[in-house]
Symmetry: C2
Subunit: 455 residues, 2 copies
């Protein structure tokens, strides 16, 4: 039998040359983005004032199965890809489980996560379109860092609205982005009308991702015709770019004669989860052997497990087109206690549809249990995981322990989407015992649902 | 012609199974450690009250060419090794140089640097000896993090004395170490007599590596027979463990049919430099084709370029055995403005001897020029480098630009020993213009030399 190495890196010639568009294999398509006024589906053309042109095309392309990765994007990918497929021998031993645990590790780049995969694609398309500025928001900071890196490489000016609470927790994230030339503002800020309005009403607010999105969109629109807005998750074109994660993982497992019984990923807006899972979801959609899928979300922001499947805005300011997704409503303010990202009220429309159709399962986990899993993982597998990714670790461990009970030798694959190097405030609160769990009551959610736009 | 990939990862079966001991090939041995009182060479037995037994054996072993890497250390290495040998295509393009630039990147692990290579070896030997505690110091923080990780894995209690100035600049480094279970103290501290004495004399001092070493040794000795002191650089056994870096790099270059004309590394205590260079130095010592070697040090702490080759203490408290090395004297206080590590007053006795014999060259570079190189590298090669490693980048760029002038197509290999994720305060001062250069005057150095121990 072949000895499975700790780490499998695909050789350059085996790297994916095209992204995989899961929509092309979905018999039942995700519902289209609609205009909040007319309730008509948005065309690519209608999206171009906000988003990069090629991204708009990809956003609305439900039929092209594979889309070539442009040469300059491939060149950039090769500076940090392939990412390793890791066999968690040490974790298996620590758990004394018969399960085989694999993880795809996306943290070995300066952005610290998978976010760079879409950032460089968007920056490249922006450059090709002749744009000179991009604006974006960032919550935990990975996306902002990734887009800063990509824009530095492509010589594009970037403005980042960073959720204020997150900036206070992670001052160095800002410096990293600035090192790559970005202009970073704490959100809500005085630079937009959305920000000023919110600050007037709640001067002490620490912000939210939804609000930062509103500010970035406003900034992009007000800046003129050579500026656009870039988003790091949720949207279809982002999931498309992230498919490189799953394509690499699948090919790497093939070279090991392995195939997962279970694929686990953390879910905030869905970029990591969708990227890792979609090439395996293809097998399921085509009726082949396929794994079971588990999306893991925080109990404090449980869109997939307790949200409504409904049309909603992507931002607090209600300025985006409407997306059909599992949502807690754009009026839901995630609890500030929760560490890291995954605090978005909604979920990728593609993943929402797949969840609605029973293709993927979802599970919500409390924060302290997540950090317990993270600490064990750090000790035995040596990597200090991002709080977001640790949600997936938690469930991977739970499933491996279940295998120990039942004696099953399942093959588990999870996404280790990033590292926690800039999340030490969260680890600190875990270590000193000040971290708490938060789970919204049904009443909290009902109150939020009441703010959903009328169908 | 073979296409050189951006990244070359050795397959697991090609990983080095033994460390290389460069002393075995040196016709002229480095001078032995001597006792400060008797001036007699120290035996392994005399070192064992301070250091881990097997490390003492390795420290004084000048004849065994290859020393097997123990199985459990190999198991740990495989969680983060091999590290990639990277072809800097983007940097070459940005410089428009005919030179081929390679770098061996050691930053893809949670400690953020090569330090883990020796940390896990020392922790393993400590465990094997039945020790329950280790004590150490850390300057920039990489070594302390690495040993924390290794001790967590081996279930050994660890106490880390972190240079106070560094801890203030990098609060999150402390949290990382604590996440791995270490007890971290700002040095000078009230927990040792050396620390108390220094605090009484200079209450506002931000500490130094030399002082932190003294405190860690005192803590180890006072703790009793199941505790020892561990050092992350300078000593022979540390260079031995770090040879894994150069062995991997050499094998990887062989698989590409490449061989360097020039090997460049940053030099603080010498662990990174010695590790990367020693397998290539072997070629030179054996009279084969060999590269030119450049050790790069900060102009603010120029031991190899402006120091004396003399016996000196390794610490400020003058508690270590005497080491024959290039030194600015243990009384030299490195300028606080200087960012990152490399602030040690001395240098590895092995490298000092090789420098003295003309085997390796040395160059000192000013800080701002180093950060300029770092910023360019980060932009085009995407990795945010550690300030220490950026010294090597600076000289690699200078040499590549020289090739552009002369038209030479040299093959350059440099060591990218770590990432700068925890050094954002330094980057911040570079970005806002508050960073300054500092070069000691000859008078400054003469004053320091006067404190050298009498021969």
């Amino acid at each position: 039998m072949k000895r499975i190495p700790y780490k499998t890196y695909l050789p350059e010639e085996k790297l994916p040359q095209a992204w995989y568009n899961v929509r092309a294999d979905m018999a039942d398509q995700p519902a289209p983005m609609i205009h909040p006024g007319t309730h008509e589906p948005m065309t690519a053309e209608q999206l171009t004032p906000i988003f990069i042109e090629e991204c708009c095309r990809q956003e609305t392309d439900n039929t092209t199965r594979y889309i070539d990765i442009p040469g300059p994007v491939m060149d950039y990918y090769r500076t940090y890809r392939p990412s390793p497929l890791c066999r968690a021998y040490h974790l298996e031993k620590a758990l004394d489980t018969p399960a085989k645990i694999y993880y795809k590790f996306e943290g070995n780049n300066t952005s610290g996560s998978h976010k760079l995969n879409s950032a460089i694609a968007q920056a490249y398309y922006a450059k090709k379109q002749g744009l000179e500025f991009l604006a974006t928001e960032t919550g935990a900071g990975q996306w902002g860092t990734a887009l800063s890196m990509a824009c530095a490489y492509m010589d594009i000016e970037l403005r980042v609205y960073m959720v204020k609470g997150s900036m206070m927790q992670k001052p160095y994230r800002k410096t990293v982005m600035e090192t790559y030339g970005a202009n970073v503002f704490a959100s809500p800020s005085e630079t937009t009308s959305v920000g000023r309005k919110l600050l007037a009403e709640y001067p002490d607010t620490t912000g939210s991702l939804g609000c930062a999105i509103s500010e970035a969109i406003e900034a992009a629109l007000s800046k003129g015709s050579d500026c656009r807005y870039a988003l790091g998750s949720v949207l279809n074109h982002v999931l498309l770019h992230q498919s490189v994660v799953g394509l690499e993982a699948k090919t790497a497992m093939e070279t090991l004669d392995e195939y997962p019984d279970l694929v686990i990923g953390c879910a905030g807006g869905g970029s990591n989860l969708g990227g890792l899972m979609s090439p395996f979801i293809q097998d399921k959609l085509l009726g082949k052997r396929a794994p079971k899928f588990i999306a893991v979300e925080p109990a404090s922001c449980p869109s997939l497990t307790r949200g409504r499947y409904a049309y909603d805005f992507g931002d607090t300011g209600c300025t985006t087109p409407l997306l059909k997704m599992y949502t807690l409503s754009s009026g839901y303010i995630p609890h500030p206690n929760h560490a890291g990202g995954l605090r978005f009220h909604g979920m990728s429309p593609i993943l929402s549809k797949l969840r609605h159709d029973g293709v993927i399962d979802a599970r919500a986990v409390p924060q302290k249990a997540v950090f317990e899993a993270a600490a064990l993982f750090a000790k035995v597998e040596t990597i200090l995981p991002a709080p977001e990714s640790s949600h997936a670790i938690r469930v991977a461990i739970d499933e491996a322990l279940e295998c120990k009970k039942t004696g099953e030798t399942k093959t588990i694959l999870f996404g280790l989407s990033g590292t926690g190097y800039f999340d030490m405030t969260a680890y600190s609160s875990f270590l000193d015992g000040s971290m708490t769990d938060y789970v919204p009551t049904d009443e909290d959610l009902e109150k939020a649902f009441a703010t959903l736009p009328k169908a």
